[in-house]
């Protein structure tokens, strides 16, 4: 049993911390979020140059051979910085599918430039009717000559606004067919991208696919159990956003405690009031419990333990319940300031709320755990 980071992980974490401290303050983050593309291409290039984009990939792909623990280190730091650059949609989601399914030619075309920061990608994991069901897919890919024609609707496609390539899960042949995975490039005819910003300052889109024609080489991992690939990628993404959430919660607890020491009302700092002290202790307790679950789930997943699936649902449930409560308390304890656009706490709160729902909210995951 060892809960310490190894040297590589510690260095990785420190380098991200340094970058955020020196080059990514809250005002910078807000400027990136409000910019033309919703993130800073220059910052994304920096991520690639510093080697952070290779973390989740195998050495054969030029990667770092990172485990779930390495990814946790990265995501928790990105959470603390409230980073808007599309690490999750590019590398964990689209990259997660590509690295498991792509042929050499497909890797050269889509994965390598993704890792290198030259292309952007997305994974269309959600459909409007399906709520949070990953396998509840109505989009259909019908064979057409050598290639495929894909029709259907997707929602909440993170990073679709900037994606060159979108991984689209679809039923093969007809609505009762097996799940297949297809890469649709953004210029494809019949693809309509309705993009929008989300409440947490990120970019997403709904997709309308109407007889979108793709070649035979657009299909990823034919013959693989594509649904199981998709579920694995989503499990890794859940661990990633939960690590991000722990970073966010740490900041919210720290900022709230600091604020309570400095904000004077009735002639004393509000942190001297026991009613508020106990609520902040509850916040801290919730944070540490969430961190414990994250560590358990991440290590269990990395070691391929039997209860990896349960572990993933458990930490997601925790973030959706306890995490949300902590974030709401952070806003409450900041008083009127907490509900202003100006204060960073409000934006950490909003990101936490978004994380609470992506890939299934607390009720969704508790239902799986109930058995």
């Amino acid at each position: 049993m060892d809960f310490s980071l190894n040297d590589m992980q510690a260095m990785l974490g420190e380098s991200i911390d340094r970058f955020i401290a020196n080059e990514y303050d809250f005002e910078t983050r807000q400027a990136h979020a409000a910019s033309e593309r919703g993130f800073s291409p220059a910052v994304w290039q920096t991520f690639a140059e510093l080697g952070w984009t290779v973390v989740p990939f195998a050495e054969a792909d030029g990667g770092f051979d990172g485990t779930a623990v390495d990814l946790m280190v990265v995501m928790e730091r990105l959470g603390r910085g409230l980073v808007v650059e599309p690490y999750l949609p590019n590398l964990v989601l689209a990259g997660g599918v590509l690295k498991r399914t792509a042929t050499d030619a497909q890797r050269a075309r889509w994965l390598q430039p993704l890792i290198g920061g030259e292309r952007h990608a997305a994974l269309a994991f959600a459909e409007p009717h399906a709520r949070y069901g990953i396998g509840d897919i109505r989009t259909v890919a019908r064979a057409d000559g050598d290639g495929w024609r894909i029709s259907g609707d997707k929602t909440y496609v993170l990073n679709a606004r900037n994606a060159h390539d979108i991984v689209v899960p679809a039923r093969v042949g007809d609505p009762s067919g097996d799940v297949g995975l297809f890469v649709v490039e953004r210029a494809a005819t019949g693809l309509e991208i309705l993009d929008y910003p989300t409440v947490d300052g990120l970019q997403a889109a709904d997709l309308r696919l109407r007889d979108v024609a793709v070649g035979a080489d657009a299909r990823l991992g034919a013959g693989d159990d594509a649904l199981s690939v998709l579920e694995t990628v989503v499990d890794e993404a859940i661990l990633a956003v939960c690590a991000e959430a722990v970073g966010i919660l740490q900041v919210l607890v720290d900022k709230t405690v600091d604020y309570s020491k400095n904000r004077v009302q009735f002639g004393v700092p509000i942190g001297s009031f026991q009613a508020l002290q106990h609520r902040m202790v509850d916040m801290l307790t919730g944070l540490e419990q969430t961190r414990s679950l994250l560590w358990w789930a991440t290590m269990t997943y990395a070691e391929g333990g039997d209860d990896a699936k349960r572990a993933v649902s458990a930490v997601k449930y925790q973030v959706g319940t306890t995490g949300r409560r902590i974030a709401e308390e952070a806003v409450q304890l900041h008083g009127g300031m907490g509900v202003t656009w100006e204060l960073d706490v409000a934006h950490y709160f909003k990101r936490l709320i978004a994380i609470g729902r992506v890939f299934g909210d607390a009720d969704w995951h508790l239902d799986k755990l109930a058995g």
Partner: protein, 400 residues
């Protein structure tokens, strides 16, 4: 980062597991399975068995007859004991006063008291709380006034667990009232319960049980040789005692065993009707409690890993008591709720040796669920109430 124990620790775990599987007395097992409360002799026999194996004083240094185990071994031992549903040892001697004596006591006190603690020849109880000093322990009023070769003890201690069985009591008493801080001027005394002037009055708790007592001291003469360490330093010694309580503070092992049993039962028909598993609300509450407990288990392991690496426990250790009692009380409630109407009969008389099982109300265990629920409301109150724990975390961890 990895979660598994070393092969050496796993071998140790197997050894402990095998011991409890094969050596735990079957008559105690039957009593526990039937919900019959253990009595004085049950505990003493069990503790002597552990001592014969060399494991009774798990936390003591080797030189005083302890195990010399690493923090991880202590954790494994406590976890296996809990998983086997073997009872905890009675803490007052071996886990509380023993460490105070070997840390601060004189050589003579060590020779006189430690062997009898190790061999469970003497039953100790704890004289801390008073009717007017609960969470605010430093406000205690019991006085020990020096008179020749003895302190004269006057006052009342309360919530004294199993004082009706006790041979000795350790007492915090005020020896000096002229002090700058209330924590000063308190001394740590060892008192023979047979001394004239001591009376024990039962306090019956809401479950109808006699577990705790009030202990009155009226002009009780305590030889000066029974003062531990220096006069007036008792508060410091008392705090050390609390540190020895750290291991297994959260009760994770026991909570795990209880939740596992409850989940296993969920698929069985209840009194010929639907299984609990058909009640989605119940199953979701059960799952939520399992998540909370898993988080707590890892919070405790994080503390353990820090201690094993020679570091002071981090902020996570401060929350173990709060969360541990909250989770155990949540399990009490789930278990009681699972019993439906059968949680309501108040029939402690059926939990005695030799009761005719054909006369059970319910399945023989269900009526205990509410009694356990009521009894264990104490958990968030004793050992420094959870609100006191929050004050401590606010001050020492958050710096408020």
């Amino acid at each position: 980062m990895h979660v598994s124990f070393s092969p050496r620790d796993e071998a140790f775990r197997d050894e402990v597991r095998a011991f409890f599987a094969s050596e735990f007395p079957s008559e105690l097992r039957q009593k526990i399975d039937r919900g019959i409360p253990l009595e004085r002799d049950d505990y003493i026999g069990y503790q002597k068995l552990l001592h014969a194996r060399g494991w009774f004083a798990a936390d003591w240094p080797v030189e005083y007859g302890g195990t010399g185990w690493t923090p991880v071994q202590k954790y494994i031992y406590a976890s296996e004991m809990a998983a086997a549903e073997a009872p905890d040892v009675v803490a007052f001697g071996v886990k509380m006063v023993g460490p105070v004596i070997y840390t601060f006591g004189s050589d003579e006190q060590k020779k006189r008291f430690l062997p009898d603690i190790l061999e469970s020849n003497v039953w100790w109880c704890q004289g801390y709380s008073e009717p007017g000093a609960g969470s605010d322990l430093a406000s205690l009023k019991t006085r020990a006034d020096l008179d020749g070769d003895a302190y004269v003890l006057n006052g009342t201690k309360t919530w004294t667990t199993l004082a009706q069985y006790a041979d000795w009591i350790f007492v915090l008493a005020r020896t000096n009232t002229d002090v700058a801080r209330r924590q000063e001027g308190i001394s740590f005394l060892l008192v023979d319960m047979q001394t004239p002037g001591i009376t024990v009055r039962p306090i019956i708790t809401l479950d109808g049980e006699h577990e705790v007592n009030e202990v009155h001291f009226e002009d009780v003469r305590v030889p000066v040789g029974n003062l531990v360490g220096e006069e007036g330093k008792g508060w410091t010694y008392g705090k050390v005692l609390l540190q020895h309580e750290r291991t297994n503070l959260a009760g994770v092992g026991r909570s795990k065993a209880r939740l596992r049993k409850l989940r296993n039962r969920c698929t069985e028909p209840v009194h010929g009707g639907q299984p609990l598993a058909s009640d989605r609300n119940f199953m979701r509450r059960l799952a939520a409690t399992e998540v909370e407990l898993k988080a707590l288990e890892f919070t405790e392991l994080r503390t353990l890993a820090a201690v094993a690496a020679g570091k002071a426990p981090g902020p996570e250790s401060s929350i173990l008591k709060i969360k541990g009692t909250e989770v155990s009380q949540a399990i009490d409630a789930l278990t009681m709720d699972a019993a439906g109407y059968y949680a309501l009969p108040f029939v402690p008389g059926q939990y005695v040796d030799g009761f005719d099982e054909s006369q059970f109300i319910g399945d023989g265990k269900e009526a205990l669920t509410s009694l356990h629920y009521f009894n264990n409301r104490k958990a968030s109150i004793y050992g420094g109430s959870n609100e006191i724990q929050k004050n401590i975390v606010a001050k020492h961890v958050l710096g408020l």
